[in-house]
Symmetry: C2
Subunit: 200 residues, 2 copies
DNA sequence: GTAACGATGTATCGGATCGATACATCGAAG
DNA sequence: CTTCGATGTATCGATCCGATACATCGTTAC
């Protein structure tokens, strides 16, 4: 999952690890608070071994002992890496529908074709609907077995599910009618400031 | 984190692994969809080694070869396990405020003292507020660097944060005034079907 | 001037957890 | 009478996190 995110960001521009981590946090926002270095560096090493990225260690050829710069490794995507990224972008399996997988894929929807976008959005919706039904089941069946706090937790979870389904439905509807992702679907006004829709 | 959940459930009644997994799914609901057996059994083993639970393998003493029942191991909490559970319940550190940790602790709030409940709720609120501020920062600062889909993702995340902060505030307010967790705080009517509040 | 500090930067280790897989029992449906 | 789905125990490889260590750089404070 992280693999997709890294390749996607390096496609935009080469970066070193620290920068990559910050950009990752910005791009993924709430999905993955911040990637641990214990995840990032091994993954970068793996991507390098696979030949999808290159590691550029700038050892100043003729000036090694003067300042002895600590190696600031710049990572750059390769041609094979771009192919790999395209492959990952196009696939939509079960792992694409869980919280982390969906978030990462969604973050790169601008570079995903519409058919795949729709498949992912619908798969995710299905997933959340199942979760929602599970919670409704619990709330209908086990009301007496569970204490007030546990029930409140389930209600809060159910609320979040219903909200996400509505959100997904709006996104799906927008995709089908060829609208911008954030454009309001018609009757319901947007709750957030409009994303400057200057192309009619 | 899983340790707390297992000890908590086994405190209610002894269970075998399969049952434990199902109860865990019911109790934690949206927090942790379903615990993998690859997590559950090693954790049970660990708890057993630590002396917090006992493993009861019912090998029918005098009837070994007749049906040769596959060992259905029944796990039971020990006195030390109960102490351990109480210790875990009472502590409120940074790991108590992330998504998984908070959810598990909240699920056992019925057995947590009020002071700890308040500390955890406030710590969690702080955590979500920080996440919210981070998202606002991104939405204010990086609007032009991010595409429409990424922005929409951030907005959805921000919305979820604001919602959770409101939820936490209501819970905190209820705790302070000694109300039931799910009771409405006063002016705002509940968004979900009232949890049959037949006591006035 | 220089010492301290916070941001930048690379890297590893142990531990928690997941998903896939394997295997075995049992009751019911066909 | 056999196949199938639910029940049940268990392990393996891979992913990811949190803590930790260490080094550089610029700014601020003394």
């Amino acid at each position: 999952m992280l693999e997709l995110a890294i390749l996607g960001l390096l496609q935009e521009s080469p970066m070193h690890g620290y920068e990559l981590r910050k950009e990752l946090a910005t791009k993924l926002g709430t999905i993955r608070a911040a990637i641990s270095y214990g995840t990032l560096y091994p993954t970068l090493k793996r991507l390098h071994t696979a030949g999808w990225i290159s590691e550029n260690v700038p050892d100043g050829d003729t000036v090694p002992p003067l300042t002895s710069r600590r190696g600031r490794v710049v990572y750059k995507i390769t041609a094979e890496g771009k192919e790999r990224f395209a492959d990952l972008l196009a696939q939509a399996g079960p792992e694409t529908y869980d919280d982390a997988g969906f978030g990462v894929h969604f973050a790169f929807f601008a570079r995903t074709d519409r058919a795949t976008r729709l498949r992912i959005l619908e798969g995710r919706r299905r997933r959340i609907e199942e979760r929602r039904e599970g919670l409704r089941e619990i709330l209908a069946r086990a009301t007496d077995r569970l204490d007030a706090y546990t029930l409140e937790l389930q209600r809060h979870g159910l609320d979040a599910c219903e909200r996400e389904v509505r959100w997904l439905e709006e996104l799906i509807s927008n995709e089908r009618s060829g609208r911008s992702p954030a454009a309001p679907a018609g009757d319901s006004p947007p709750a957030y400031p409009s994303p400057h829709q200057d192309r009619p």
